[in-house]
Symmetry: C2
Amino acid sequence: MAVEVVYRSSRDPERLFMDKAEADRHDKMLELAESLSVVLHRAVPSLNEEQVEELGIYMAKNRDIFARAFKNQPDALGELNGSGDE
Amino acid sequence: MAVEVVYRSSRDPERLFMDKAEADRHDKMLELAESLSVVLHRAVPSLNEEQVEELGIYMAKNRDIFARAFKNQPDALGELNGSGDE
């Protein structure tokens, strides 16, 4: 037995990472997801909490594709397949 | 009286523009909005048609801000104020 270092995002304390960079990425993803949820909920108030959370996380997980789509490649969205992740 | 040229997007035939570039911008905005609606609906099936349409149009109208937010400036979302447009 030995003591070891693990990392986690304070936004999601249950998820532990052995690698700090990975924990950082997870934290940044959740940060973006939260901000997205707030603005989308303000824009479409009929959405419920769960829906805005799902939208935020989905888009934040796929941020590179959405970045390209919003910049000037709407076709990039075609890379998002049914799966809904990564 | 005289004949004049007006422009419109086939995606929104009711809206006429005197300026072709403006009609183009409107068409591109609607194109992006439609693609967004499709992927968001697939990602969060509990959304209804009206909600995904509103989300798509809102994000497409604010595409520059979302492009920056997804790229590397999540804070850009702070520029979106309650109004929901432009």
